[in-house]
Amino acid sequence: MNFLLSDEQLALLDALRGLLQDKCDPRHVHEIFDGDGSYDAGLWQAICEMGIPAIMVPEELGGLGLKLIDLAIAAELVGEYAAPVPLFGHCAATIAVALCGSAAQRERWLPKLASGEALATLALGEGDSRWLPGEWEIAGEARLNGKKRFVPHGLEADLFIVGTASGLVLVEKGEGVAVERLDGADRTRSLDTVTFADAPAEPMPGDEASVARSIDAAAVLLAADAFGGANHCVEMSVEYAKVREQYGAPIGSFQGLKHQLSNMALAVEPGRGLYWYAAHAWDELPEKARHAAAQAKAHLTDIYLQATRDTVEAHGGIGFTWEHDTHIYMKRAMLDWAWLGQPEKHRLRAADLAGW
């Protein structure tokens, strides 16, 4: 029994951190944020070349055959750097294809998704807080009709994994698919409204349990992103408190601020254990996995949003500007909080799943 990252996992993190330090400094994130709403293609390609999207694809289909914990720790780093790449939607959709796709669908798509040659995304939300299996109303098997909202990078996606009343279906971009970009808060991860009008669709044979498991993986990835972002907010605020001076002293020497920063760190740091556990449970403890995923999503995204608010406060006026990083993290936190349903929804699910 141990609850540690392995040497391989630490090496993966080192390599990814090196890449992000090099290609994803804050100035660069701001440029993308202020750009046309598309992601950073060069950075995404480098991340794909490093094999991140291949992590959970089986080896025989061009992947690395690793686990959700491996992908989740990578997602944490992407959250820490607020990297403007479509990692979340793409990887969550890739997991859904691996779990729910037919042999033919898996063979056709997984190698391309692992390498990043094709981009996939998850189309789940329908508005009115309908995000989960059993809540989806959009219907159609061979031909899909209806609207999905809050689809990550729908404009750029080649493949949509769509939640419908009868399970997941796979839709390729093109015929019958109209995409409209939302005026998204989080411009590092654009969201789109996707309207399907007689779009050719292929049902995916995965059963209810596999669909649920795919959604759980998405929840864990959001939780990991949230932890990375929240932890960065703590670090950013602490570093600022060490260098910014008022009254002739670093502001971090004033106890009021020190205690605010301690409270932030105290809220955030223990969440690491929870998201690790949720990822590990998904990999190894199937009977605990759903509950843990719901808890991780609820807890970490709640904490993240609050941490970003505290970060603004800790920075004073500069923290309230468009130029500063604070608002980018806050907007990523807003997405993590809302996407797949609010914390309250997942807490009520967790209570049901715990058998309360």
């Binding site: 029994m1 060490k242 971090g252 205690h259 920063l261 740091e269 556990y277 009520l348």
Partner: protein, 389 residues
């Protein structure tokens, strides 16, 4: 990462179960008898199940650190409702402190008898004018011949009326600086120079005491660490007091109790647990508890593998305090009208509501914990006065 036990541990679990089947409940069925408990604990130590970090020559079972085995033991002992061997009160702090700082003779004299419950300890740190600012303490000890002679007053000393001994901080070098003049002594409380006066707490229970020293005595050999270096010894006691290892088990059992309360209390004709607001808050508390649980696993794994756990090391006490207070408040909401009746069905929860407050005072107040997190974990500038010296 591996939270499973794996087949190699099945044999170990079977052995533990077998041991429990043979030893608990005791043959005469009297599971409340102190003597039965003592015998059980000795047998469990003999088998390597309890006090695993304490060397054999000091009465422990001297096992290599192994979180899987420790967890199996904890699980099986809890299931069988067997004694956990936990040292009551603040005595659990003196054992690791002695292991770190004590001489061979001190360890031999005090540890084994503490493990068996023969010696019961009180902590004598706080004084009327030395609370958070502990180093300003004024109780004095002078070396006269081969004895320390102690004069002064301690306060808030939990369980001192039931204790046989006290580990305490005294000023031995009146001319040295604030922190450098303090020494750490072990004192037998059963002597004429010591007067113990219980103080009633807000819960109505007389749990802590004032302790007066008038020419009380202890052998020169009962000094732990060097003379004038007691502050450093204290730091290791406080580290154990704040590490929160035992606190996780306690938090988990509070949560179980809270769920039971929510199931059994009716609210608008339905069990309270079905009320969406209460249900959401229960789940939120559980999320916090899961964070504590797995961060504690993570911290333990890091310690066993000699890796730095990072900022979490200063956090368990304050996190647990917040959790206990959140549990206390939700219990209050569920108890409802009966929250005014000290003898009613909410009695236990009214007490806990108050006890959860003592957690933000005893062992260093929550503000002092925030100073520690800020200065030790976040590296913020030290406070010249109330800092984490």
């Amino acid at each position: 990462m591996d939270l499973g036990f794996g087949p190699e541990f099945d044999g170990f679990r079977a052995e533990v179960k077998q041991f429990l089947a043979e030893n608990w409940p005791p043959a005469d069925g009297d599971y409340k008898s102190k003597e039965n408990e003592r015998r059980f604990v000795l047998a469990a130590i003999d088998r390597g199940y309890l006090h695993r970090a304490v060397p054999k020559r000091f009465g422990g079972s001297e096992q290599a650190p192994d979180i899987a085995r420790a967890e199996i033991i904890r699980e099986e002992f809890t299931k069988a409702r067997a004694p956990s061997g936990r040292i009551p009160g603040t005595g659990k702090l003196v054992v690791p402190t002695l292991l770190e700082w004590g001489t061979e003779e001190q360890c031999a004299e005090f540890i084994a008898r503490t493990l068996t419950g023969e010696m019961r300890w009180a902590q004598g740190f706080s004084e009327p004018n030395a609370g958070s600012d502990l180093a300003s303490l004024r109780t004095r000890a002078e070396l006269v011949g081969d004895e320390w002679v102690i004069n002064g007053q301690k306060i808030w000393s939990t369980g001192a009326d039931r204790a046989t001994h006290m580990f305490m901080l005294v000023r031995t070098e009146p001319d040295a600086g604030k922190h450098d003049g303090i020494s750490y002594l072990l004192v037998d409380l059963r002597q004429p120079g010591v007067t113990v006066r219980p103080l009633q707490q807000m819960t109505r229970l007389p749990e802590f005491c004032e302790v007066f020293f008038d020419d009380a005595r202890t052998p020169a050999g009962n000094l732990v660490g060097e003379r004038g270096k007691g502050w450093y010894v204290t730091r290791s006691t406080l580290k154990h007091e704040r590490s929160g290892i035992g606190g996780l088990t306690w938090s988990l059992s509070m949560m179980r109790d809270l769920l039971k309360l929510a199931r059994e209390t009716q609210r608008n004709g339905k069990p309270a647990i079905e009320d969406p607001r209460i249900r959401t808050e229960l789940a939120a508390i559980d999320g916090q508890l899961m964070s504590l649980t797995y961060s504690t696993y993570r911290a333990t794994s890091h310690a066993v593998h000699d890796r730095d756990v990072g900022s979490f090391s200063t956090m368990p006490k304050l996190y647990m305090t917040d959790l206990a207070q959140r549990i206390g408040k939700l219990a209050r909401d569920i108890v409802g009208d009966d929250f005014v009746d000290m003898s009613g069905p909410g009695k236990k929860w009214i007490e806990r509501f108050m006890i959860s407050l003592s957690m933000s005072i005893a062992g260093g107040t929550s503000n002092i914990q925030r100073n520690l997190i800020a200065e030790r974990s976040l590296g913020l500038p030290r406070d010249a006065r109330g800092g984490s010296k």
